[in-house]
Each structure stands twice: as structure tokens, then as C-alpha cells.
Symmetry: C4
Subunit: 222 residues, 4 copies
Amino acid sequence: MESSSRHVHDTARADARQRDEWSIEFSRIVAFSDGVFAIAITLLVLALEVPENADDLADSILRQRGDVFAYALSFAVLGKLWMSHHRFFSVLDRFDGRLMALNLLYLAFVALVPYTSELLGDYGEQAPAVILYAVGLAGVSLAFAAQIVYAYRAGLVKPEVRGAERRFAVPASFLVSAIFLASIPVALLSPDAAILMWLGIFLVGDRVTERIGISLRPADRG
Amino acid sequence: MESSSRHVHDTARADARQRDEWSIEFSRIVAFSDGVFAIAITLLVLALEVPENADDLADSILRQRGDVFAYALSFAVLGKLWMSHHRFFSVLDRFDGRLMALNLLYLAFVALVPYTSELLGDYGEQAPAVILYAVGLAGVSLAFAAQIVYAYRAGLVKPEVRGAERRFAVPASFLVSAIFLASIPVALLSPDAAILMWLGIFLVGDRVTERIGISLRPADRG
Amino acid sequence: MESSSRHVHDTARADARQRDEWSIEFSRIVAFSDGVFAIAITLLVLALEVPENADDLADSILRQRGDVFAYALSFAVLGKLWMSHHRFFSVLDRFDGRLMALNLLYLAFVALVPYTSELLGDYGEQAPAVILYAVGLAGVSLAFAAQIVYAYRAGLVKPEVRGAERRFAVPASFLVSAIFLASIPVALLSPDAAILMWLGIFLVGDRVTERIGISLRPADRG
Amino acid sequence: MESSSRHVHDTARADARQRDEWSIEFSRIVAFSDGVFAIAITLLVLALEVPENADDLADSILRQRGDVFAYALSFAVLGKLWMSHHRFFSVLDRFDGRLMALNLLYLAFVALVPYTSELLGDYGEQAPAVILYAVGLAGVSLAFAAQIVYAYRAGLVKPEVRGAERRFAVPASFLVSAIFLASIPVALLSPDAAILMWLGIFLVGDRVTERIGISLRPADRG
């Protein structure tokens, strides 16, 4: 009996140790992802170029309105993506190698935004720049949807929120991807219309994540 | 009775778990904000350009005095902002989605400083560069004031420091914003006078935050 | 006897304190390494240059295919390296000054990738660019092999995984280094063949690390 | 008596809470400093420029030897500085606002290294570039010495290591500063001799920090 008790004790200790290790691993992945987000969002400023030997400085600055708009849009987009990523990771119970690979794919699209954003700032009225920006965001949202679906199927999501994830997060992530993909052909006809579609996603996204946020509150669990 | 006791126990455990989750969330937001600050402050150096094929290297370097002044000023400004942000977050009890959004808006202005700083280094004697720098700092300080006011109204500040926050932090943040806004028209008349006003804020800001710092010390709580 | 007991107690406390300090130290080194990885991987995007005054924007973007390929390849390479580094550090029991120095040498090669990647994107069909990329990766993998061998010899690896490390990680790291080194002369004959060799390492590396990963699972320890 | 006991208990809890808060604050400052180091060390790579439209790519790359030397030197310098900073912070018991300000001053010089390093890579044979590099390093080492002296005087260093700090760290930091300052006039006569002096500091610095490291080991405390 004593030996059995010790065995239980040892197993508990091994479990605790294992959990500690997972939690360190987990926090490293989170910190790495947050680092990529923080760097990408701060690199956006490099698209704002200081004019050289400007004759009329005020005029040179005012001509950068497109760059400032792209900066504000991309800062909001990356901020929003980070908050969604943040929320998704907070409902994860654990992770595995495949989720890590999907997360890297996702980050590869996130880290592209400073490039597509600079392109949008310089050539915002031309279809190719708007299309490339939409392709980048579609890539981000599809890689995010892939993470959510995979985490749900592989049982990596915390048990108490699985229902909510299934009902809200999965459809929401596909809806967002669909709208970004749909904005690509729209950009061929009207770049401005495509940009308006993205702004629409912001509003829809907000409502959907808010509903999910509500359903995740502890008061609703009981 | 036993069941009630277990219920209390379970609630306590759920509370502890919830608190753990909040604390992870909180630390991610803090780490993200710190990341943006650390990156923006280190990107300032990119404004110092290495001259190409310089005939007289010493002369080329000495002509960058304006850039070095802007680097020193902006490093001090971002360092100061980071310390204030640091102090503000240390009195927060918790956060919500809206505070997170205000924090992102604040960081969007923080991440702009490498651009406005480079502009100031290159065109420090011209009004438009000084005005844009002032606009950026006014944006930072207004977004910071908005965070403080919102956190105070929404009850997100630790109970024991609410009084001090109300009496010091809110007026101080508006005073700083007001001086930055006031420096914008001043820059039209004299760019140097506007820069002197900012240096004045440093001194005032120091005294005010020091007073708040004193009132937050545990010895004064009893 | 009481004094002896107190001594034991004090020693335990000193040990716990010491362990706490090691763990802080350890986490700082991990965070620093992760930071370098996150920054290097995000700086890759700077190789994608926005064309200035493009007449045919779509054409200018399409001509950047080489840069996009280099971005994707290098993002995957750095992501893979980070995961291996991650796994290696998770089996470390402790570290010392020499391992720290080897880790810095390793990071110096990691931080070079944005440069060799940009070179590969612009001159991917020329031998010198491919050779330099291979030299950089050989440097990374040799510095990594040096870390693994040193950690194993100096007894810095957790006791329970030492066997697995010896049998898999050491040979695997040398195999990877050998292939990168072998790709250097191959690049002189055919740049494309050298790039195919690297892709081969990805597949081999995956299988090997997977086997190591399996042998590290707690179920296999009993 | 009960009330007194409760008071002791409350004080202990307040102390624990306070300690928790200090430790969060402390870890934020450490993380911020590490972030600046990691970013500055990774930005060094931006000094390596990819040649545009190179006729002879191998030749263009080989002409960058100076840049590669500056990269290796600066990576080693920043890595070394980070390890010293790391060690210094690990003997700190707590910090205050003034130490935080000195740390920011120190980081302002650390973040300058990518600029002085690029200058050294491009103009390594000219005195002004070597002098500016030496000035930057003298600034770093003086700001570091100031931190050590201040922390020692203000009683912010852990009691058990105060003696060792006094005997080794303070003289060592001034010795390093003195050699960097002395290398400035030397650079006027011979840039190469100044660079050799820096390499000498590496060796001296290693021995001194090793001695301090030994005296900090727990075995030597008894």
C-alpha cells in the first residue's frame, strides 16, 4: 500500500514536472509569436520615408498621406490579428509540433505585412498593390483558420470552451478568409471597394469575437 | 455543509485559475507593449546614416549633430514614456478589451517616434518637422491620458491607489497633453521655443510622477 | 541535533534560492535567443523592396519572385532552427559560461541569415550567393553541433535524456553540418542542386528530430 | 496577542505582495534591456549591404571583408556587454528610479553600436570612424560603471555579494572605461593599435569577470 501511495505521489510529481515543462514550452512559443507581432508592427514605420533635401517640407510631408493611411490601417490590422491570436492561444490546453508549424506559417504571413503595407502606401490607387495586400491578409486568415480547425480536431483546446470554439471561432475564421479572398477580384474593378470590404471585416470580426468573448466568461460556464 | 464547503473550495480554485489566466494575459500585453517600446527605441539609430564615399569623414560625422541631438532627445522621450507606462500598468488591477484597444492606439503613436525623430534630426530648424514631432507626442500623451481616465472610470485600477491616481495621474496626463498641443502653434513662430517647452515637460513630469511615486509607497498606505 | 537540522534546512533554502536564480538566468538566455530569432525572422521582409516609380507595378512585383522564394525558404529555415534550438534547450539541465559563448556564436550566424537571404533572392542563379548562404547555414549547424557536444560532455543535459541525446542528436547535428558543407562545392557546379540538397536536409532533419522527440516522451521513460 | 499575530501575518502578506510587485517590475526592466540588446545585436546585419547589379558578385562580396570584421567584432562586443549586464543584474537585490535612468543611459549607448559598427566597417582604416567607435564603447562602459557604483552606494546589491562587488566589479569597470578612453588618442596615431587595445580588454575583462564569477559561487560563500 505504501509503495502504491508512493507510486501515485511519484506520478503526480512527474505530471507536475511535465506540466511545468509544457508551460515553459508554451510560453516560449507565445513569446516568439508576440515578438514577431511586436517587431512587424514596429517595422511598419520604416515605410514612412524622410524626404531628402526637400524644398517644401510641409508639402513633402503632406504627400505622404497614403503612407500614413497604410500605417494606420496596418497597425490596426496587426493589432487586431494579435488580439485574435492572443484569444485563441488562451483557450489552448496544449500544442504539438504540427500546430507549431502552422503557427510559423501564420507568422510568415504576419511578417510580410510591413512589405505589403509599404506597397499599399505608395501605390494604393493601383490594383496590383491592393491585390497583394489582400492576398497577404487572406494568407494570414487562412493560416489562422487552419490553426483553429487543427487545434479543435486534435483536441488541443481546453475542454470547457470546445463547444464555443466549434460554434463561433471556426465559422468566423472562414468567413473572414472568404471576405479577404473575395476582395481580390473586387480590387481589379475598384481598389477602394476592396479596402472598404476589409474595413467591414473589422466590424463583423469585432461582433463575432465579442460574442465568443462573452461565452468564454466564467459566469457563463456554470 | 460539506457540499457547501466543497463549493467554496471549488470557487476558490476556479478563482485562482481565472486569476492565473488573467495574469498570463496581462503579462502578454505588458510584454507586447515593452517589445514595441524596445524596438522603437532601438530603431532610432537607423536615422543616423553612414555617409557614402565621404571625402572628409570627420566633417561628415560632425554635420550629423542634429541627428545625434534627435537621437538623444527621442531616446529620453521613449525611455520616459516607457517608465510612465510601466508605472501605470503596475497600478492596474485588471484590463478589458477597450483598454487593450486604447493601449494599441497609444503604441501606434509610440512606434511613430523613429520617423518623427529622423525628420527632426534632418530638418530641426524648420517648423513642419518640429510640428510633426509635437503632434506625435501630443498623440502619445492624449492616448495615454485616455487610458488612465478609462481605467479609472471602469474600475480597473487597484483599489488602494485609486485616490492617488485620481488626484495626480489624471491631471498630470492632461497637463502634459496640453503643453504638447500648445507647442504646435509655438513651433510656427520658433521651432527652438517649442523644443524648450518639451524639455520643460520633462522637469514637470518628473516632479509629478515622483509625487505619485511617493504616495504609492507602502509606508504611506497605512 | 537541532543545529544540524537547521543547517539542512538552510542548505535546502540556499539550494532553492540558487535554483531560482539559475532558472531566472536560464530564462533570460532563452528569451535573448528567442528575441534574436524573432527579430532575424521578421527582418527577412526588408529584403522585399518596394519598387520606386514603377511604370508596370504588376510586372515589377512579379520580377521579385526570387526574393519571395528566398523569404519563404529562410523563414522556414529560421523557424526550423528555432524549433531545434527550442528542443535542445528543453533537455538542458543547466548551462555555463562556455555554453553561453557557443550560443552567442550560434546566434551570430543566425542573425546573418537576413543578409545571405537577401543575397540569395537577388542573385539566386549565381554560385557566390548560393555558396555564401550555404556557408552561413554550415556555420549555424556547426555552432549548434558544438553546443550539443559540449553540453553532453560537460554534463549539462538532463540525466533522463542523456542516452537519447547521445544516440540521436549528436550524429544528427553532424550529418546536417556535413550536408551543408558538401553543398558548397556542389553550388560551384549547380546552384540549383545545392538548394535541393538543403531541402533534403529538411526532410531528413524532420525524421531524425521526430525520432528524438518520440524517445523524449514521458511514456518511453518508464 | 491575537491581533499582534494577525498584524505580523498581514505585514508578511503585504511584504510578499510587495516582493511580487518588485519582482514583476524587475523582470520588466530586465526584459526591456534584453530586448534592446537582442534588437541592437540583430540590427548589426543591416550594415552588410547586398550589392546592386554587381558585375562580379564574388568580388563585391569579398570587398565587404571590413563589414564582416565589424559585424563579428560588434556581435562579440554586444554579446560580452550583455553577459556583464546579465551578471550585474543577477547580483541586484532591488532597483530604484535613478538606477533605471542610468540603465536607460547605458542602453542609449548600446543601441548606438549598429551605427558606429557600420561606420567602422566602411571606414575602418580612418581615425574618425575608429574614434567614434571607441567613444561609443567608452560611453557604454562609463554608464555601466556608473550603474555599478550607484547600485553599490545605494545599497541595491544583494548583501552576500557586496564585498566581491566592491573589490572586483567597481575597479574592473573603471579599468575598462579607462582603456576605451585611452584608445581614443591612440586611434589618431594608429587605428589598428586602438582596435588591438579593445581586443586586449576582452582578455582582461574575461579574467576579471571570471574571478568575480568564482567569488559569487555558493561554495565560496561558506
